[in-house]
């Protein structure tokens, strides 16, 4: 059963059900007909018995002469004394009584129906006790059951032939119906077979009616739309990434080609090598960023959590950028509770903070403030400045990959910095939000949720030495993923 195609299974189940219904109906009709015929026979016998009784009241009942209604073609009658002697009988009957003495003894006044085989013919008798001419008589009327049996035989034959024919016709219809109902499934399957990454915009044609198939088709189409969007994002990412890789590669190649083609001094070679070195740096930074993003997408970014004293970490990152800030007359201040600690990957968090400070140094102005605050559920680290802030139209896509306020390529970055911040926060099950401060300036807040019931506050210890960062980007082989 399981191995059969669904339309055959449906048809078989349907045929069995129809077969049962047909058989039950046939049986019912047959029995109904049988009892109806029985009733007719019995009524006929009673009427004849009344007839013959009336005749028996007279001196000469005259059955032999075929008088009265008793003598129709299929009927016969006999009048007996209560002892069983034949008083009168219709012609053609054997001269002996139709009933045995013991049968006569048990007759009630209502009479009794007896089935009987008379000279190889099925007959039914009705025997009634009557009082006629001052003595007890028994009137026996009978009729052949052959017409009834023939009628029932005919009916049975009709049912046995007609039923299976009807069953076959109905099953065939059911099969065709099932095939028609399943045809849209086949068609959808054929269409689905043609959809691939080469034509991700293709959709299944939906049947016009709003039924199970249409719903299935809609769900599949929704799935295709989601896959198409994912594919589109993936392609966009690859296109952007290759575009960003081409620029430093072009500079590198052109620089080397031109320098090799022209007679040059040692200084010129040195300048060319320095330039090539810069581009190689950019390329390797870009490769690292892309790797990080790819890891975040695959949810395989290695996160090594350790307990971090937030104030220490912020001071360490700030110290790294202090000189660059001072070059443009800016300051970096840290404002964090000394005893605030956090369970996170310090290397990654510092990377995120460094990206934010770097952004502020490039595009912002005024003092940069690193602030941390906590409540029982979460720790928030905010990096803010007092510069022009984010362009309003850029704010909603600030964390998108390769998104820059000015879509033209600029040497200032490829637009991955904030995307990496988000990726790092996502790997920590945290979040990053960007906003413009009311008084002016950009603000990015990193939110890290605390595990339930954990208290990472070190009571009574104002600060502990910063732990050395233990993870490195290149150290993937031994990395333990916490995800």
């Amino acid at each position: 059963m399981k191995g059969l195609p669904i339309r055959l299974r449906l048809t078989l189940a349907f045929a069995v059900a129809v077969g049962v219904v047909l058989a039950a109906t046939g049986l019912f009709v047959y029995l109904q007909q049988e009892s109806a015929l029985d009733r007719t026979v019995n009524q006929g016998l009673r009427a004849r018995a009344a007839d013959v009784t009336a005749l028996a009241q007279q001196a000469d009942s005259g059955l032999r002469e075929g008088r009265g209604a008793a003598a129709d073609s299929s009927g016969f009658a006999q009048v007996l004394t209560s002892a069983g002697r034949v008083v009168d009988a219709t012609p053609g009957l054997p001269p002996r009584p139709l009933l045995q003495a013991h049968e006569l003894a048990h007759l009630g006044s209502q009479g009794r129906f007896i089935s009987y085989t008379l000279s190889r013919e099925r007959v039914r008798l009705l025997a009634v006790r009557v009082h006629a001419q001052d003595s007890n008589r028994v009137v026996v009327v009978g009729t052949s059951l052959e017409p009834r049996l023939t009628a029932l035989d005919d009916l049975r034959t009709e049912l046995l032939i007609g039923g299976p024919i009807a069953l076959i016709l109905v099953s065939l219809g059911g099969y065709l119906l099932a095939a028609a109902a399943l045809r849209p499934v086949d068609q959808m399957g054929e269409q689905a077979a043609t959809i691939s990454a080469a034509n991700p915009g293709q959709r299944l044609r939906l049947p016009p009616a709003d039924d199970e198939l249409a719903r299935l088709g809609r769900r599949l189409n929704d799935m295709l739309a989601r896959l198409e969007a994912a594919l589109e994002r993936e392609r966009g990412f690859v296109a952007n990434a290759s575009h960003e890789l081409r620029t430093p590669l072009a500079l590198l190649k052109t620089e080397l080609e031109l320098t090799l083609d022209e007679p040059a001094s040692i200084d010129a070679y040195r300048a060319a090598l320095r330039s090539a070195h810069d581009e190689a740096d950019r390329l390797s930074q870009l490769a690292e960023d892309l790797l990080l993003i790819a890891q975040a997408d695959a949810q395989t970014m290695p996160i090594r959590r350790s307990t971090i004293t937030v104030a220490d970490m912020l001071s360490a990152v700030a110290a790294r950028y202090q000189r660059r800030a001072a070059d443009t007359g800016r300051t970096i201040t840290v404002d964090a509770p000394a005893d605030l600690t956090l369970l996170a990957d310090r290397f990654r968090l510092e990377q995120a903070l460094a990206n934010l400070i770097d952004n502020s140094l490039r595009y912002g102005s005024g003092p940069i403030r690193l602030a941390a605050a906590e409540d029982p559920q979460q720790v928030e680290i905010e990096v803010s400045d007092e510069g022009p802030g984010f362009p309003p139209e850029f704010l909603h896509r600030a964390f998108e990959r390769f998104s820059r306020p000015d879509q033209a390529r600029s040497r200032d970055g490829v637009g991955l910095g904030l995307a990496i911040v988000t990726a790092i926060m996502a790997a920590h099950s945290g979040s990053a939000t960007a906003s413009n401060r009311v008084g002016g300036g950009a603000s990015v807040t990193l939110t890290l949720f605390r595990p339930h019931g954990a208290d990472h506050r070190l009571s009574g210890v104002p600060s502990i030495p910063a732990m050395p960062s233990v993870a490195s980007v290149t150290d993937n082989s031994s990395a333990i993923s916490n995800l």
Binding site: E244, A250, L251, L258, D261, E262, R409
Partner: protein, 224 residues
């Protein structure tokens, strides 16, 4: 040879400048598309090397603007955007060549030389004759502002006429332009299609721009 380099990326711009000068060419730099437009109009350049990713107006828009301003200097697009869509778009907005970064400078020079050989005669991406306008890239045709639907053959025929406005084109020339070699040129297929074309580009507008020149062929009038 004089080259206009349109490039916002300083390092790339100076490298290109150095390369062209090393090879004995004069080169100027424009940092934006707007600068490129007025510089190209103000001085005679033999070729323009145009970046696509520019601040403000990008390279595609700059190229369109140059052609609209009647600057037919050959344009070579030099960009990191290498997708087929970008190349097609660049060429369709009127660029004459498209080179993807990273590139070989020797190839860039060779392509620039080839472009200069072709000269700066008008090579519009969209053809205009009288009130008729035809865009071979999108296969659209307009008379003034109303778009006209043409079949492929009608389009090919009209394009042939619009590339030689005012000239008489013989039946043989038209057959060559729009039909395959070996087509039975004794048939009157050209007459039939010229009539179809008239039904679509002239009759609905009450104009008679497509003329029959008895004994010679057909001509699309430059002025109606």
């Amino acid at each position: 040879m004089k080259v206009l380099v349109v490039e916002d990326e300083l390092k790339m711009a100076s490298l290109l400048l150095r390369g062209f000068r090393n090879n004995g060419h004069a080169a100027d730099i424009a940092r934006t598309g707007e600068d490129a437009s007025w510089m190209a109009a103000a001085a005679e350049y033999d070729v323009i090397v145009l970046d696509v990713m520019l601040p403000g107006r990008d390279g595609f828009a700059t190229c369109t603007a140059l052609r609209e301003a009647g600057v037919w200097t050959p344009v070579l697009m030099l960009t990191a955007r290498g997708s087929v869509e970008d190349r097609v778009r660049g060429l369709d907005v009127g660029a004459d060549d498209y080179l993807v970064k990273p590139f070989s400078f020797a190839e860039l020079l060779a392509r620039v030389r080839a472009l200069v050989r072709r000269g700066d005669r008008p090579r519009p991406a969209v053809l205009n004759v009288g009130a008729l306008r035809l865009d071979p890239a999108t296969r659209q045709v307009w008379r003034d502002t109303s778009e006209i639907e043409l079949t492929a053959k009608e389009f090919a025929l009209l394009e042939a006429f619009m590339r030689r406005p005012g000239q008489v084109l013989t039946r043989d020339q038209l057959l060559e332009q729009a039909w395959d070699i070996g087509y039975d040129n004794r048939s009157n297929v050209i007459a039939v299609y010229v009539n179809y074309l008239r039904e679509k580009i002239d009759r609905p507008f009450g104009t008679r721009s497509l003329e029959t020149v008895r004994g010679a062929g057909y001509r699309l009038r430059e002025r109606e």
